[in-house]
Amino acid sequence: MGVNGVGPQADESGWPLLPQERTWGAARLTLTLATTAAATWCYLIGESVGSYLGFIKGGLALGAGCMIGMLLVLLAAGPACVQFGIDSIAATKPQFGSRGWVIPAALQAVSIVGWNSLLIIFFAKSAVQLSVALGLLDIGARNAALVPVLTVFACAIMFLALRRGATGMSMVSNILVAHVFIGLWMLFLLVSRRWPELIAAQPPNASPDRVWNYTTGVELGIGATLSWWPYIGAMIRMAPNGRTIVLPVMLGMAAPVPLLSLIGLAGSLVLKSSDPSEWLRIVGGPTYAIVSLTFVTAANFGTTTAGIYASAIGLRNFAALQKCSWTTLLLITIAPVALVGIFIPELFFAKFGNFLALIGVAFAPLCGIQIVDYFFLRRGRIDIRAVYGDQPQQAYYFWRGINPAAIAALAAGCITYVVFLDPLSYRSTALYPYLTASLPSTAAAGLVYLFGSRLVIRAGRGGYS
């Protein structure tokens, strides 16, 4: 309920949440973030790392990369989100302008719809496999036809859960968080039974340059956690202050990714398959496969639910959607995911690697811009009124609602990334093995934004005075 006792439920709006409305403590936030982070992508990321690095080196490189990436996301989106109870998209208005924010909003929409589509397809496929394993379905080609049906079913369940807003998302997380521990148990199983093979296994696509291989492991970790930027604001804004969010974000959201990615890393190295439901059948028989499929099904469902919620809150920033009902907004958010899951599922499977790389290209510079703006230019001062205004006299109007410094910085960061590492071919520059691609991209965007903002400040725009 709003400040006047009227209006929409606060957690279903894109408006700033008042301190008394932010009731999530560290434990609740950790559970929600961990459930969001743990999904099928973990073992796909692990498989990607396993192409270049062995188990121990790969795990350590991935762990380092994930923690670095998470720190960047937290420093970029965290301060504004936690100060004013706003989401990731609203937090970009001081940098991109009162209209320019649609650029990060588009990035968020593409990212979340993409990821959610991928995960919901995995969910549906896992549910079919689980039904077969439990004897509820026969093995047959027609089972493939069940995938779209299960996609629609999952979307309907998510819709019903999210009708309760952030409370619904938290409720789903409380139920599904057990899968994180199932994942760790699966990892223990593989490591304990196949340790000698695991240590001896050679990564199939390793470069002769061992520094390049190691850096690529780190880069994959950074890229993976940078993809949390669109999600994080909608969740941390439910916490009352900065102290409450740091450990849940760094341990609840960042740490499960490398830990559960070890499942895919180990599986791909030893059994040449990152899919735990496949290799658990080899290691432990059909019962273990059923447990694994339950894990996969639950994991993807939890993550997609959080993604839908974050996406719906992001859409609230569009004036046309501010007044529409939460139910309508949920339907608008879920529809693209359902359509992709029904009509073009294989396309998303085939393009996963490219998709992950493209996310790194977009979000690394975005983080650089936000960090420089908040900590170096505005020194922690955000005009919350200007975040929600779109009039020429307001601070974040810049020029026609757009800050050219942010656009130039974003472009510079993306170009820098591609120069350091081509996300499609993995061709890299000589400096890449020593610097990664995400970190120079973040730095380049930050520097261009810093110098570009000097001109903006000189012109008296942007509310920096």
């Binding site: 121990i56 720190l71 202050n241 919350i384 009124r385």
Partner: protein, 59 residues
Amino acid sequence: MNEPTPASIRHALPPELEARIAAFENAAPRPDFDTAGWFWMILLGVALPLLLLAVGWWV
């Protein structure tokens, strides 16, 4: 930020949003991260990755 807001801007916002913004403007500025938060961020986001990288490189 605590300067008087022109009426044209105030009236452009929905009343509920206006009330929320006014609540923030009338309250003391809220801090982002405290010392403990920065400590954990540096430990987990800088020191731990450096340690992991060093160990991973030498094993």
